[in-house]
């Protein structure tokens, strides 16, 4: 492609939808593992059987976000949202809706069918407060067809940048937009690009951090699976802005679908000349290579990632020098997160003021969150900065299931902290979250209820950090392990108050002395749970009790003699022979032998066994 005109020809062609119906089926990892590919096959069969090939186009798209209700299928033009679709539903959908034009109401997302008129998706609780910017194309286009991306305005931004703007102007636009890094630290993107642009070198690099190692986070995965071209376009724009001709996307190997979609996208871009030499006939050249991770969380750290691309153990490096000066292969490099890149084309096309009009004073734009844990509507949401946690949990998320009480929300994964109920009304932005002891993080948001033990959660995160520590610096290598040992003692009821002092001291040391953010933030879950749930720690240490009923060593399993019918089911299933009693007589659990495995509670039909 040698000119913007050619781009526009492709766009116009792609916008003409020949078919009466377009059926979007989610092909993200979540829905795929629930069988969405078989649904597509069944759809193809039924459509053929009904002679509807000319009327219906099936498009495998990216993630719609409402993962709790997958597999998901949306029929356009009506926008009918079919949820939890099963193979056996397909014949009815095809014959009733696609052939006869009657929406199959009983298979639609329940919330849309509560009234006479089918509620448009944008008005449901899950979607009405969302504003999809980074996710705008996910679920709308086929990620494996570059024409569809071009059809919705893709590569216009790159064309504008290369033909109408100077590198300095591009950096100014990004700076004015207020975009901050979406990987977790929130560093101003424009400033990062400006530093790299200012350094002279014979080669510079643009890198994309697609390692997404936080457990519970899948925002980047969805963008890569649903709209990979947005990332490619943005990286090319960044290359122009800082003076680089080569980019690398470092994607974790645990995302095979994302890797596949990226490979297809890169090849299609190269075929159309949107990557390679002389893009849009302007003489600018840029190419992108894919590098796979190999299962190391630490490689999500900036310098560790670059060290890994260089073919080494993924160990971080001391800074200064910062990557903008000496990064990949010791050349000036920028590294941005997938979601950060996903915002760039829109900012170029719609202008920085548009982006800055969303969000709060210091945190502009939107943020994608992966909602998980004890919440009804698990999935992916994109909301303007400044939305409160209460809105996310109670409205968008549909509340905590089973009538349980909200206890805390964890953001930032193993580097983050928990937000308790008292802060539910804090508007979410980078600085507010830091002020209350948490952090934005990459976007994983795990909701916990009254049945979760906060000490156990802190221990869980430390187990992860200990495993993933690269071992290079002493504070992290040894400090995290010592912290974990103390947490294990606490959860077993073997700790003293001196241990708690030691734990806090270790937190301080790791924060100030670790080489990289993995070690520096490893204490965060401990610090934030100590801040808001100190009473739970004290209960474990002093009273040897776990208030939430989680830490096994502190629990006693007991049988309520009034409810026990003496059916002997529990004593028969007990692996330790800890339950005694005669038939028809109330049974008793010997706490010395009891392993607290819970098999008896599962078997009891009278609810006579409880933990305290």
């Amino acid at each position: 492609m040698k000119s913007l005109e050619e781009l526009r020809v492709i766009r116009e062609k792609a916008k003409k939808h020949v078919c009466r119906y377009r059926v979007h089926v989610c092909g993200g990892t979540g829905c795929t593992s629930s069988g969405s590919l078989r649904i597509i096959e069944k759809l193809e069969q039924e459509i053929k059987a009904n002679g509807l090939e000319d009327d219906v186009e099936i498009v495998k798209t990216g993630c719609f976000g409402l993962c709790a209700l997958g597999p998901i299928m949306i029929v356009h033009p009506e926008g009918s949202f079919y949820s939890m679709v099963k193979e056996e539903d397909i014949p009815e959908i095809v014959s009733e809706h696609l052939k006869n034009g009657n929406v199959v109401k009983h298979l639609l997302y329940e919330e849309t069918t509560k009234t006479e008129h089918i509620l448009p998706l944008e008005e449901t609780n899950f979607y009405k407060k969302q504003h999809r910017v980074a996710l705008r194309n996910c679920g709308e286009i086929s990620p494996e067809h570059i024409d569809e991306y071009i059809g919705v305005g893709g590569y216009e931004a790159l064309g504008k940048v290369l033909t109408e703007m100077t590198p300095e102007q591009v950096i100014q636009v990004i700076t004015d937009s207020g975009l901050r890094g979406r990987g977790g630290a929130g560093f101003p993107t424009g400033l990062k690009w400006k530093f790299a642009a200012a350094n002279q070198a014979d080669q510079k690099y643009v890198c994309c951090n697609a390692d997404e190692g936080d457990p519970g986070a899948f925002m980047d995965r969805s963008v890569l699976e649903g709209d990979p071209h947005a990332v490619l376009e943005a990286m090319t724009i960044a290359g122009y802005a800082i003076g680089a001709t080569q980019g690398y996307i470092y994607v974790r190997a645990e995302y095979p679908i994302a890797v596949q979609r990226l490979e297809i996208a890169i090849n299609q871009s190269r075929e159309l000349g949107l990557l390679g030499d002389d893009i849009f006939g302007t003489g600018f050249k840029f190419d992108i290579g894919l590098r796979l991770g190999a299962g190391a969380f630490v490689c999500g750290e900036e310098t560790a990632l670059m060290t890994s691309i260089e073919g080494n153990r993924g160990e971080p490096r001391p800074r200064p020098p910062f990557p903008a000066l000496k990064g990949l292969f010791q050349k000036p490099t920028i590294l941005n997160n997938v979601e950060t890149y996903a915002n760039i084309p829109q900012i170029i096309l719609k202008g920085p003021e548009w982006f800055a009009s969303m969000g709060t004073e210091k945190s502009k734009g939107t943020k994608v969150f992966a909602l998980g844990g004890k919440i009804n509507n698990t999935g992916l949401v994109e909301i303007p900065m400044g939305t409160t946690l209460r809105e996310i949990v109670e409205e968008i998320g549909g509340g905590v299931p089973n009538g349980k009480k909200f206890k805390a929300a964890q953001t930032g994964g193993p580097s983050g902290g928990c937000i308790p109920a008292e802060h539910l009304d804090v508007p979410i932005d980078y600085d507010n979250l830091l002020a209350i002891g948490s952090m934005m993080g990459s976007g994983g948001l795990i909701v916990m209820d009254e049945d979760n033990c906060m000490v156990d959660i802190a221990k869980f995160f430390l187990e992860f950090t200990v495993d993933e520590s690269c071992g290079k610096c002493t504070p992290c290598r040894i400090g995290t392990r010592r912290m974990l040992e103390i947490l294990e003692k606490i959860t077993k009821g073997q700790a003293s108050m001196e241990d708690l002092d030691k734990l806090e001291e270790l937190c301080y040391h790791l924060k100030s002395n670790s080489l990289c953010a993995l070690g520096q933030t490893a204490p965060n879950p401990v610090i934030s749970t100590l801040r808001y749930f100190r009473d739970e720690y004290i209960a474990h240490i002093v009273d040897k009790k776990c208030p939430a009923g989680v830490c096994k060593d502190l629990l006693q399993y007991k049988i309520d003699a009034d409810k026990c019918k003496g059916c002997t089911l529990c004593s028969r299933v007990c692996p330790a022979g800890a339950i005694v009693g005669s038939v028809k007589e109330p049974h008793m659990i010997n706490s010395e032998k009891c392993l607290k495995c819970g098999a008896c509670i599962e078997k009891c039909r009278f609810g006579a066994i409880y933990k305290e």
Partner: protein, 164 residues
């Protein structure tokens, strides 16, 4: 910790070697090529024994110690092959108290390998795992996705015989 008894003898074929050499030739010029080379080598061989690491070292000129350092750093790279049937013995508390430790030891004896290894014929690999949540069936072991419960040491022979 028990001494490593034996590893699966390396049985790389000529085709695999040619495939590996092709991969290396294609990637040699790339900066930082070691990671993609190791990833593709593991695709070809299923794991990265010292023999394969040595081949890579000879072809690329990268010291063997460095390659070994990279292989042992990343959890995806495996020095041991996984067998056709992956045996996972639960050593969680409930199972342990019911004798899964004895089952684990018996398996090691019968198969002639220690935990983490694979039998010489590539059939069985053995690992310990934490609780699989089937404590009512303790002691428990899994072979691929099949769960076997209420095990005794005597059951092992029959179970192993089921797998071709």
């Amino acid at each position: 910790m028990p001494e490593k008894k034996q590893t699966v003898p390396f049985s790389g074929t000529k085709e695999q070697e040619e495939a590996l050499l092709e991969v290396i030739a294609g990637l040699k010029g790339e900066p930082g090529a070691l990671m993609p080379i190791l990833q593709k080598a593991q695709d070809i061989y299923g794991y990265l024994p010292m023999e394969v690491q040595k081949m890579i070292s000879d072809e690329t000129g990268i010291p063997l110690e460095k390659i070994y350092g990279v292989v042992t750093f990343y959890s995806q790279f495996s020095l041991n092959p996984k067998g056709k049937y992956r045996i996972s013995v639960c050593l969680g508390t409930a199972c342990y108290v019911k004798g899964s430790g004895d089952i684990y030891n018996a398996l090691m004896e019968k198969l002639g390998i220690v935990g983490g290894e694979c039998t010489p014929d590539g059939k069985f690999s053995l690992d310990a795992c934490r609780c699989v949540g089937a404590c009512g069936l303790a002691p428990v072991m899994m072979v691929n996705d099949e769960v076997y419960g209420r095990l005794t040491v005597d059951d092992i022979d029959d179970i192993l015989a089921k797998y071709e």
